[in-house]
């Protein structure tokens, strides 16, 4: 594990969180490494999404978080709002579950792809536009120049999620948090999005946190897997180890619930 610790991009330590006095996370530990996909599994309500949101300080109103989220030598939980805003979107980006609602319906794709680029990187309109077209090509949107002028509702669900991923990558972040990025999509589209994420992780050296309740998705792309239950990480390790020789009974029950054993349906 020493090699892994050297390249740790983001470390979550003893993360606790409560909403209105009700405890949701009970001390979560996670390490994300550059160029690796870390899968975070668990059933609904286990705290996967909240862990992802906590990294960006996007927790719901009335919640408190404690512990430590180390990134670039700083603790994100201690960071003042203004400085955190310079990390969000620029160094750590997020892709949400439903691309039908996560893009602004009244703004063009160009505006949504370039506004944070221009804000964080301080580049001009023309340069931002060129980079945006390049990003759309990278996530394989056909006709990037034309696509920039269009609105989200003029694209299919899979295309919208590709656009959302392009938006997340625009400022070349070091960490990408993908919260159930394929759940709202057709099964036929899911594999394409996962391959895209995997490829981006390898090519750009991104550290990816892939939040999903789907162990099939997990087995297809994740390098490391952590399993959450009731606000705690109950098991963590390399994909093959966790999915083939689970040590925690909860992991085993999740695996038993799969129709096809993991590893046999990977793309």
């Amino acid at each position: 594990m020493t090699a892994a610790q050297k390249t740790a991009a983001l470390t979550i330590e003893r993360l606790r969180m409560s909403i209105g006095g009700h405890d949701v996370l009970h001390g979560v530990d996670l390490t994300l490494e550059a160029g690796r996909v870390h899968g975070l599994a668990g059933e609904s309500g286990s705290g996967k999404t909240m862990t992802g949101l906590a990294v960006l300080g996007l927790l719901p109103h009335g919640s408190r978080a404690s512990g430590r989220i180390a990134f670039g030598g700083r603790d994100l939980l201690e960071m003042p709002a203004r400085e955190l805003n310079e990390v969000r979107g620029a160094k750590i980006a997020m892709v949400f579950q439903d691309p039908a609602t996560s893009l602004h319906p009244m703004l063009t794709v160009e505006r949504q792809l370039t506004e944070h680029m221009r804000h964080h990187l301080g580049i001009g309109r023309k340069e931002a536009r060129e980079r945006a077209a390049g990003l759309l090509a990278k996530v394989r949107i056909p006709g990037p120049e034309e696509a920039l002028k269009r609105y989200p509702h003029q694209f299919s669900g899979g295309m919208r999620q590709r656009i959302a991923i392009a938006v997340a990558l625009a400022c070349e972040p070091e960490v990408l948090i993908a919260d159930e990025p394929t759940t709202a999509l057709d099964v036929t589209v899911q594999a394409g999005i996962l391959r895209l994420l995997r490829g981006l992780c390898d090519d750009l050296g991104l550290a990816v946190l892939l939040v999903t309740h789907d162990l099939g998705v997990m087995s297809a792309v994740a390098d490391e897997v952590s399993v959450m239950k009731d606000g705690l990480v109950v098991e963590t390790g390399p994909r093959g180890q966790v999915l083939r020789e689970p040590r925690h009974p909860y992991t085993r029950s999740l695996l038993d619930a799969l129709p096809v054993p993991p590893g046999e349906n990977s793309p």
């Binding site: 979107g89 949400f96 609602t101 009244m106 506004e115 944070h116």
Partner: protein, 341 residues
């Protein structure tokens, strides 16, 4: 090739013109259905006893022809800008309306402007400070604004601020003895500004303030409530969270991501509210002796001055049409989905 927005505009304008023709028919039919004989309302007792005079009067005013023919005559007149002659003032209805309509538009326009600024502003503040003291205070105030009857408020405001405290000028549009500014728009404040008559401007604005605020109170309350709930709904949307995750500055998130979508329902309500503002002017104009279309309509209706009543009906109908057109166009400007699909 025309842009989608231009096509959308043309379609809306054509619809509005067709509706305008419909309005002329409706005002004409409704006016003629009114029980009551204009003859009895306009001729004295002695003249009414003389059938020859009555018949002559009816013939002079075209009332002896069949209704469809009367309607066609009415339409033909409208095309020439002739709305008939008022039987009370013995002046062309168009001239009467040219004096009273701008007065009402100035009053209602000022009221809706104030309502939009304050109502939307209060609504946004209440939503952003949800469940805090300022939110509670604004919600109670907006409820008061909606509940208080306008005519009562007009009387109280006139009594308190004019008779007792003497901080507002009295009735009318400007101080008595002051000559109105040269007419360009008919709105005294705007005309005074255009001609550089600062004394008239301050007098006109002073006279406008109290009735406009009284009229606006209801719409301020209404818009505060609608804006608050619209903003709260948008704040819960995923794309607002996306905007925060992108690290955009707070004001960009507020204006671009929250306010823009929230304005769609607010504009709908504002358009409807402008309609109720226009009917509210009848009472406010009466209390503040504002020489507007509300007073004119009231006088015309009680004396069965049919050409004048039809003229008022037409003007009010057209104002509604224009407001709806503006609301439709604003939808198209704000939300691309309206014009693209």
């Amino acid at each position: 090739m025309r842009s989608p927005l231009a096509r959308f505009l043309v379609r809306r304008i054509v619809t509005a013109l067709l509706l305008a023709v419909g309005i002329t028919l409706v005002t004409f039919v409704l006016t003629n259905l009114v029980p009551g004989d204009p003859v009895a309302a306009n001729l004295g007792q002695r003249a009414l006893g003389d059938p020859a005079i009555v018949a002559q009067w009816r013939a002079d005013h075209g009332l002896d022809r069949p209704l469809p023919q009367q309607y066609l005559m009415h339409l033909e007149g409208l095309l020439h800008g002739d709305l008939g002659t008022s039987q009370q003032s013995h002046r062309p209805v168009l001239d009467d309306l040219a004096e009273s309509v701008p007065a009402t538009l100035e009053l209602a326009g000022a009221a809706i402007l104030v309502s939009l600024v304050l109502g939307v502003g209060f609504g946004v503040v209440a939503a952003l400070r949800r469940d805090r003291l300022s939110d509670h205070v604004l919600r109670v105030l907006s409820l008061v604004g909606i509940s208080v009857p306008t005519f009562w408020l007009a009387l109280v405001a006139f009594y308190v601020f004019f008779f007792r405290l003497q901080i507002t000028p009295g009735s009318g549009r400007i101080d008595p003895g002051m000559t109105p500014p040269p007419q360009v728009t008919g709105l005294y404040t705007v005309d005074a500004l255009l001609s550089g008559r600062w004394d008239v401007l301050s007098s006109a604005a002073g006279h406008l303030a109290a009735p406009a605020l009284v009229l606006a109170l209801y719409t301020i309350g209404l818009l505060t409530r609608f804006t608050r709930s619209a903003v709260l709904e948008v704040l819960g949307q995923d794309y607002v969270r996306s905007a925060r995750a992108k690290g955009l500055p707070g004001r960009v998130v507020l204006f671009r991501y929250v306010l823009r979508p929230a304005l769609v329902p607010v504009i709908t309500v504002a358009g409807l509210a402008f309609g109720s503002l226009l009917s509210g002017t009848v009472l406010v104009e009466a209390v503040f002796a504002w020489p507007g279309v509300g007073q004119y309509a009231y006088r015309s209706a009680t004396t069965l001055d049919l050409p004048a009543v039809m003229g008022v009906g037409l003007v009010v109908g057209v104002v509604y049409l224009v407001i709806n057109l503006v609301v439709d166009v604003l939808y198209g400007v704000i939300d691309p989905r309206v014009r693209v699909s």
